[in-house]
Each structure stands twice: as structure tokens, then as C-alpha cells.
Symmetry: C2
Subunit: 355 residues, 2 copies
């Protein structure tokens, strides 16, 4: 199904809190036909968030958005605590009453809400993106996909692993490759229209879920870029990171970092330096299915241009690998630089292989 | 609450399928007052499974067990697939009708079964051990416990990590320590009477669950032995392993292995050799909160005595660490050998620590 999104972002579209809305506009194949934010009604997306280069109109209400024939209302903001603000309920009811699909990544499950269930008309439905489908245990089927699989791994949460995987997918397609993006988190799923929020899967099945997104993406691609999660020394989220490393069974890794970040937000755990990160990720892969880090992607949005270029040069020098900020300076050169290193399939260790 | 268990193990008590029953009899503080297995009715536990050294009677039915005043019926067998055999339903109904607590580690949730819910009389209740309580995200509170924390880590699943933690808890108590066992899996929970099945927690919260079992155990102990799970290069279960490494925030690790196992059952992934295991576990700890492997515990049940002693000598030589089979040859000497290495608290890396 190709969706036409109206994106709900009341009072927030111009801010970082609308990160999900911005990600979907920037990367989804699905069209955004309108944004709902009364603060900017009458303007266009590009007037409010120039880098999105999108002409969709901004309107005040769901009712106003219907003239642009959306198929779906996407909740484009993650409110503090993940709960739905009371003031948005009427807009969601209006969408369901108009027969739209409502797409939500909130912790609060909209499909369990009696008011919303009752409001559905015609083909209206609710897609709570965070609810994982039933997934099997890891089976080893990821070892058998013909596509080459590249996983983005990071120094921490929220450094740009999803964006790196999306940019690389685009760059590969621009070079004529059959490339696919495999989504492992809420915004990635909204962008791709499929995927599994690995962090919401029961721990025993997290590897199996990572395997499943790869097997599905590989069915129609020769090259799969998998959205990584967390960071390998993140005290809370590293189990999800490791589920992707083993479950996605990558043939190569791309390391992502946001300079100058050096410690994790909540815990004060220091980020590992590039070489320690590479050593750690490669050692874990080597114990199951060998894969090397083939390049370093930096998210330099916090740096001025000169500092950004210096950070990129320094990453390349420290690691001996291609390094780039794909959003700021383009992805073609970096993709071409890593392409030879992602041209082969790796095999898992097997019975009798020395560990 | 101190429980008096009647253990349900129809047709299986003499076999390895009754592993949960045997574990509870061998290690739980709660008394086992009867075992239910018509195949051996009239005999005593020690007549059927000599190493358990337990005089409890074996009877044919729950009704027969009631004369020994049990408080609880424990489902002591994990049937293929985790579902409840139809033929056991009558026995569970009889227990609930008699006002007993029913304790189950089956995948199938007994508390959701209308027949069982309806059968409860007086104080009867159902404890589905695998259902985790609500747990918070990892918070760092495990860093603040005063108790020293020792985690068992393994070369694979089902090598003896729970047994090693239980034996070390006993050995420490025998030396006068206030020691506690922290259970992270189904049989461990039945033995301890508390704990959380980490593998059933949503992946994002698995570290938080591991932290919680440590914080709870540490409230009444100076030394906590945490039951580990999985193995760090297990493609399916390593995320749970890592949740325990970061969430339990151990001060020291004990490595557990079952020779001569060299590959994992389902996937054929080779087990890592001792030194690679130690390097991998210590490197991960070093990236968040440093901890060393202080000893190697072997489960030599598959080996004859001479081969077992040779395997232990070889593990000690390869690693330079104390090595022993605690069940077969006793735990006091090993405990004394590692005691100096588990006498201090470690601190997590903090803001400004070089990573």
C-alpha cells in the first residue's frame, strides 16, 4: 500500500520534538500531503523547515487536511512520557471518522482505546507501530539470504544510525543497486512502512525479530541496510544492539557517531573511542559470523563547518576507514568508497570452525 | 512465606525431564514434602534419585499428597513445547480445590485458564513463574548496592550457571557470609522463591530487570551470586546474557563450562575457548563497569572421574585461575580460592573516565 500522509504535529512542527514528522517527510517513499499544526496554518513545509524541501501545505485541523486526500494520519510527535495529549483526541477521532488509517508510535496503544475503536468508519484502521508481531526464536535463516547485509552500529543512542542506513540505501539506489532499508525502530518503521521495533520484543525473541526484518527486506533486494539500535556499551539498550548484531547477521558494519558527544546522557558512561568501538563490534561478530567495520559516518549537526570537516578527517585518520557526514556533505563519495568492502557475503562460523 | 512443596512429576521423576523438580529438591530452602509420580508411588525420593539424599515420600496423586500438609503444588516438569498435558489438569484442579498454591514455569499461563481460575478454593492461588513483574528501565541503582555482586557467565546455555551460583551461595554461607542467590530464570526462581525470568522481559527493560533482582537480593546480603543466562556468542540468547552483564553490574565473574561440549545445539556456532570467553566478557565489563573473571567452574557430569580431573587441571592451566566441579568434588576449596578476588567493590566508569 502506498500511503498519503497527513502528519499531526500540533504546536510542534517547527521544533525538534517533531523528529518523527521530519524523518518521514525526508525519507519515506509515502507522500506527505499535509501537515497539521495550527501555529503555521497557511504556510508550506519548506517555509517552516527549509531543509525538508517539501511543498506540502500546513493546515489547522484534520478536517482541513481531508481536501488533500490523505489515506493516513501519522502522529508525528513523541510527547513526553509517550502518552497522548487530551487535546489531540478530537483530531484522531476526526481522522477515524473520515475513514483514515491512524499510524502511531506512541507507547500508549491507540488500538486499545474504546473511543478510537468506536470512531472507526469505512476502512479506518489503527496501526500502533510499536506493537511487534509474533516473532519466532532466531533460526539461522538470516545466514541464508542472498543479499549482502550492512548494519549501522553506533557509539550511543540517537547518533544517526537510522539516517545513515537511509542515506546509504538512497546512495546505493542512485548507483543502480536493488537496495532496501530494514527498519528496527518506531520512526524507521513509519518511514519504511514495515519493520519491527526490536526494543519492544521479549528479550528471548529479539534476535529472531532482527533476523525477520532482514529476511523480509532481502526478499526484494541485493543489498540491505539495517537500522541499528543503541550502542554496545549502553547499560540499558546494549541488549537490543546485540540482538541486531547476531540476529541481522550482517556481512559488514558502518559505525556512526555524533561528535563531540563523549558521555551517555543518563548514566554518564563514557562513549568508547573509535578504535575500541570497532574492536568490540568486530570481536562480537567474529564469534558468530565475521563482519568488519567498513566506514565511519558522522553526524556533525552540532559543529560548524570547519570543525565538522576536521572531525571527519580525524575519524578517517584514527580508523584508516572512509569517513563522512552523509546528510551535510553528500553520500555518493562515501558509498563509492565502501562499495568494494560490501561486495561479498560472509558465512557464519560452523561446527568445526575454530572459535 | 516458607513453602512446603508437593512436586508434580507424573511418569518423569526418575528422568532428566524432571530437572526442575530435582533442582528444587537439591537447592530450595522450601521443603519438599512429597513427590507425585504414580510410577514410583510408595518409594522415597532417595530410592529413585539417590544423589538428592531426600526422604520425602512419592505418592500417586495430589489427593494422596495432602496428608503431608503441602502449601504448594509445583509443576516439576517442562513438557515438550511448554504446554500442559491434558492428563495433568485434574491434578492441578485437585490442588486448587484443596486451597493450595500452584507454582508453574510452563510457557502456558495457568492463571489465564478459566477452569483453574474457577477451581480456586480458600487461599488457593496460581504463581506463573515466567510472567515478569513490571520493571523499570535500567537506572544505575545497581551501582549503589553495598553488597559485592558475582555473576556466573557461561560458554553456552545449560552448562550449569544456576547450579554454580547456588553452590557458591551455599559455600559462602558455610564460611559465615551473608550470601544471597539472585534468580534470573524459571527454575532459579522456583528455588529462590523470587527473581525475574529475564528472558521474558521486553528487550528494552531486560537490563532494568537484571538490576532489580540484584538490588532486591543485596538488601539482605553482603555477597550476591547472580544466576547468568545464555552465552555471549549465542546467536539467540546473548542479548539476555548482556542484559545481566550490564544490568547486574557485577564486581566479579565466574566462568562456567561443560566439557567436552564444543558447539551450540541448534546453530552449530562453536563455543569460544576459555581465554577468548574471558577476554570477551572482561572487555564488555571494562566498557561500563570493570569486572574480572575470578574462577572457572566446570560441569563434568559427562566425563569419567579421571577425564574430569584432567579437564579441571587443563582449565586451571589455560586460564591461570582456580577451577573446579563444585557439585562433584565440593565447593569449599574453590570458594576459598576465589574469596580474595571477590572481596572488593568495583565502580562504574563515570563522566571523564577514559573509555
Amino acid at each position: 500500500m502506498s500511503r498519503r500522509y497527513a502528519i499531526l504535529a500540533p504546536g510542534t512542527f517547527a521544533t525538534g520534538r517533531a523528529k518523527t514528522a521530519h524523518g518521514v517527510i525526508a525519507y519515506a517513499d509515502d507522500a506527505t500531503v499535509a501537515v497539521i499544526d495550527a501555529d503555521h496554518a497557511g504556510r508550506r513545509v519548506r517555509d517552516v523547515v527549509p531543509y525538508l524541501a517539501c511543498d506540502a501545505p500546513i493546515v489547522a485541523t484534520v478536517r482541513d487536511a481531508l481536501q488533500y486526500a490523505p489515506t493516513s494520519l501519522l502522529v508525528g510527535v513523541a510527547p513526553q512520557g509517550g502518552a497522548l495529549p487530551e487535546s489531540w483526541r478530537g483530531e484522531i477521532v476526526a481522522a477515524l471518522d473520515a475513514g483514515l488509517e491512524v499510524v502511531s508510535g506512541l507507547h500508549q496503544i491507540l488500538g486499545d482505546d474504546p473511543e478510537f475503536v468506536a470512531a472507526r468508519k469505512r476502512n479506518a484502521s489503527i496501526w500502533d507501530v510499536r506493537i511487534p508481531p509474533p516473532v519466532p526464536l532466531f533460526s539461522g535463516s538470516a545466514y541464508d539470504v542472498a543479499a549482502r547485509v550492512v548494519l549501522t552500529v553506533g557509539s550511543d543512542c540517537a547518533v544517526g544510525k537510522m539516517t545513515a542506513a537511509l542515506e546509504l540505501t538512497r546512495a546505493a539506489r542512485a548507483r543502480g543497486m536493488r537496495a532496501a532499508f530494514a527498519a528496527s525502530g518506531q520512526t524507521g518503521i513509519m518511514i519504511a512502512g514495515n519493520g519491527i521495533a526490536i526494543d519492544r520484543v521479549i528479550a528471548d525473541f529479539a534476535s529472531g525479530a532482527a533476523e525477520q526484518i532482514v529476511v523480509e527486506a532481502a526478499a526484494e533486494a541485493d543489498l540491505v541496510f539495517v537500522e541499528g539500535q543503541g550502542g554496545i556499551n549502553h547499560p540499558a539498550f546494549a541488549p537490543v544492539t546485540l540482538a541486531l548484531i547476531y540476529g541481522a547477521a550482517p556481512d559488514a558494519l558502518v559505525l556512526v557517531h555524533e561528535p563531540p558527544r563523549s558521555v551517555m546522557d543518563t548514566y554518564g558512561t563514557p562513549l568508547l573511542p573509535y578504535r575500541a568501538l570497532i574492536r568490540t563490534y568486530e570481536a562480537l561478530c567474529a564469534s558468530v559470523k565475521p563482519a568488519k567495520v567498513v566506514g565511519v559516518v558522522l553526524n556533525t549537526r552540532a559543529l560548524d563547518e570547519a570543525t565538522a570537516r576536521a572531525a571527519i578527517a580525524s575519524a578517517a585518520e584514527e580508523t584508516g576507514l572512509p569517513a563522512a557526514d552523509l546528510v551535510r556533505f553528500g553520500s555518493a563519495e562515501f558509498y563509492d568508497a565502501i562499495a568494494p568492502a560490501i561486495s561479498g557475503k560472509a558465512a557464519p562460523l560452523a561446527r568445526g570452525t575454530p572459535g
